[in-house]
Symmetry: C2
Subunit: 451 residues, 2 copies
């Protein structure tokens, strides 16, 4: 709550905020005022007359004196001298009355939902997570770089991508019209990036340690609680890194450090999520500081899944990707903790991952966490020219288009590796919120683009 | 330069990096090694034999002892015991030999140019500017929010926008093909955002003080030294703000604070730009800490321009936008300092700016800085329902589509204002680099989308 800094009570102060609730009593009235900057607002003590026009949602400027609270809920209250109504709020039509609202309903009024307890707490956790990651990378002497959103290359190969064009008017399916093509503006097809990794590798091949924080896009065709068409990622690339084990260590430290920062900075907000969303939240987050995350190879994971008594919809089988149900079993039930799955077969991973000596698996990992599944993915990158080129050919890439990427292996190539963290999924992880649509202010998914 | 932290010389250490230059002499050889994390690398002292395979661009791991330098250029040198070549670099074909390269040439090899002095210095300034802005907003208790990149609304109205679609294959202009339309994926036309402002206003109407840092897009049709199709902006929205003067004050403090942070953190890099790019750079940046930025109204600016003896291509005239030549005259010549131009006529500004009492001008500003022109634009936002609605109608907006925006004025409306800072232009400002294509690693503009 933004009040003039004062440690003494009895000081004459002014506050701004929105009325969250009002209790009009016979001799005295109470209003809870909040400006969104902290979980606890301030309780204002008013006369019945002063409280008359205050309804939930009204914005006000109050002048008065801070006094010691008699009740136990807050330390200080504002004994109001003067009320100025900034913006009225019609109680008859205001969509966010003080009562329980379902997440489904709140999503319908996403222009007002940051005023709810859950979404204002989320906004503060989001901000705190951002500073937590920033602090971590800066402390470790990484340079933040900007990789492009508009790109002519497709990092993952085979991801569903969005194409861009400059035509202002939408092309109607009924019209024979070529103005939807993007050759108008660029001299080639251009897409929204699915990952900044390849560009980040350019930067790491000069600057040693870099990270990005930006939006990426996948034209996912199904609606799930973990996928969005637009989401933010941290991607890191580290030159002179030779061991996958070191990359796991660093990734673990990154998650741990940021989570500790949030727990220390926003205990009231996190406790709110524990109370209302996920009773085991805090113990789960605090347990990150205990033992090292579990590590197992993909082969071991397949064996565990195969030997489990669990009936899966998809039978776990070497050479196939782990499905969501497999990931959840491993993290939620088998390990009950974050687990790194490493060394997947090359056949199910992208061309840029570094080949292991077995010629069959690649030096990569997925970090699975309880409730969420995959939170981070990373690998050593293939730094050997011939091996990389042969993987590109094997995966059907146009080698000429990626000559710039091969050049990084031609001129002073360095062993390196990196990872990408789904930032919005991380917010699910630290708040316990089930649906990724409820951690993002304006979620984008198939058929969904409000505002 | 990343070396094991040690203050004593004579310590046994290991360094990684790329060879920037080699001097082979009769008895002893020298190689300059840099890892991109700081301007100064380290000078390695080797035997002729050890230096044999080192060429510019080669990546190496060196082991040896730090010794006091005899020369004056650096304090310590590495007396090399052991050389390990990580990646060779063929001197015959390496595109980035140690010699002067033009910016035009370097743009052609943008996958290697972060290894050049200019572009590695730029990468460090970019990182430092990011932390400078972050520190400023966080210190002032702003919450960082994410506004969407994919959007169904067009903030500026009339900006040239990019439309998105999901078709994987580019639509050829010769084909009669409707697969370029974006109704495939979303249920309405969807564009790349030109500004996060309207969404940031949603957040500020609940959380009081918010800022964004993200990419925005304009399908600019001309190639200039100040425009890109994709660039990053900081946008801030501040609730309970009633005076334009306070917004100017805050904007000024934001620029000043970040610039001071850079000057203090990266003096060697900034001095490099002073030496090679812009001799007046440091004095210009340091002068920000002197007097308040100049303030004048648009009307005063038009009078100054009209009364100047300068022959402009476009005659300055009340009611028309200021052209680049006008902005440069005001900042570079008339004020020789940053200048806020305020209170433009409503006819040349967007619908959301707050009407002044004269009914003719709006409470807005552009901040013009020497060499660059417009760096920041901001305004108070119209918080009065009727006035806003009437401006929307006057500007031809579809009021129904913006009902959510009007709702913010219906339910607990608050006076507020905000601004947007072109981040890449700011980098031009603090480095003196003329062309915005040379401060962005992978610039996007009409016909330009490499990698």
């Amino acid at each position: 709550m933004c009040i003039v800094n004062t440690t003494s009570t009895d000081a004459d102060i002014e506050i701004h905020g929105w009325v969250k609730s009002v209790r009009v009593q016979k001799n005295v009235s109470f209003a809870e005022i909040n400006d969104g900057l902290s979980f606890r607002g301030i309780q204002a003590i008013l006369t019945k007359e002063q409280a008359k026009e205050l309804t939930t949602g009204t914005s006000v400027k109050l002048r008065g004196r801070l006094v010691e609270s008699i009740g136990s809920e807050q330390n200080r209250e504002l004994q109001v001298d003067q009320v100025e109504i900034l913006g009225k709020c019609d109680a008859a039509t205001y969509p966010l009355q003080k009562k329980h609202h379902s997440f489904d309903y709140l999503r319908e009024i996403s222009h007002l939902r940051p005023r709810s307890n859950t979404f204002s707490a989320l906004a503060r956790v989001r901000n705190c997570a951002i500073t937590g990651f920033e602090n971590f990378f800066q402390k470790n002497e990484f340079l933040r770089v900007h990789t492009p959103i508009l790109t002519a290359s497709d990092c993952e190969g085979g991801s569903k991508v969005f194409k861009i064009s400059t035509s202002h008017q939408p092309v109607r399916p009924t019209a024979c019209n070529s103005s939807g093509n993007n050759l108008e503006y660029f001299d080639k097809p251009v897409y929204l990036t699915v990952s900044g990794q390849l560009h980040a590798e350019i930067m790491a091949s000069s600057l040693s340690r870099v990270y990005t924080f930006g939006p990426v896009f996948r034209a996912e065709e199904s609606v799930t609680s973990r996928h969005l068409a637009e989401f933010w990622m941290h991607e890191a690339e580290i030159a002179f890194l030779t061991q996958l084990a070191d990359l796991l260590e660093f990734t673990e430290e990154c998650i741990r450090s940021t989570t500790t920062h949030i727990l220390e900075s926003l205990s009231t907000d996190i406790d709110f999520f524990r109370k209302w969303i996920d009773a085991h939240l805090i113990s789960r987050l605090e347990s990150l500081n205990g033992a090292q995350f579990t590590r197992m190879t993909y082969t071991e994971a397949i064996n565990i899944l195969s030997n489990s008594k669990r009936k899966f919809e998809f039978t776990p089988k070497y050479g196939t990707t782990l499905k969501s149900e497999h990931e959840k079993f491993l993290a939620n039930e088998h390990c009950r903790a974050p687990v790194f799955i490493t060394d997947y077969p090359k056949s199910i991973k992208p061309f840029y991952m570094r080949m292991n000596n077995d010629g069959e698996t690649v030096a990569c990992f997925d970090l699975l966490v309880p409730k969420i599944g995959e939170l981070v993915g990373g690998s050593l990158r293939e730094e050997r020219y011939e091996q990389l080129e042969s993987q590109m050919i094997e995966k059907g890439l146009n080698v000429d288009e990626y000559q710039w990427y091969l050049d990084l292996r031609k001129y002073g190539s360095v062993p390196h590796g990196g990872f990408g963290i789904g930032f919005d999924r991380y917010l699910q992880f630290v708040t316990g919120i089930d649906n990724i649509r409820d951690v993002v202010a304006f979620p984008r998914a198939v058929g969904q683009c409000r505002f």
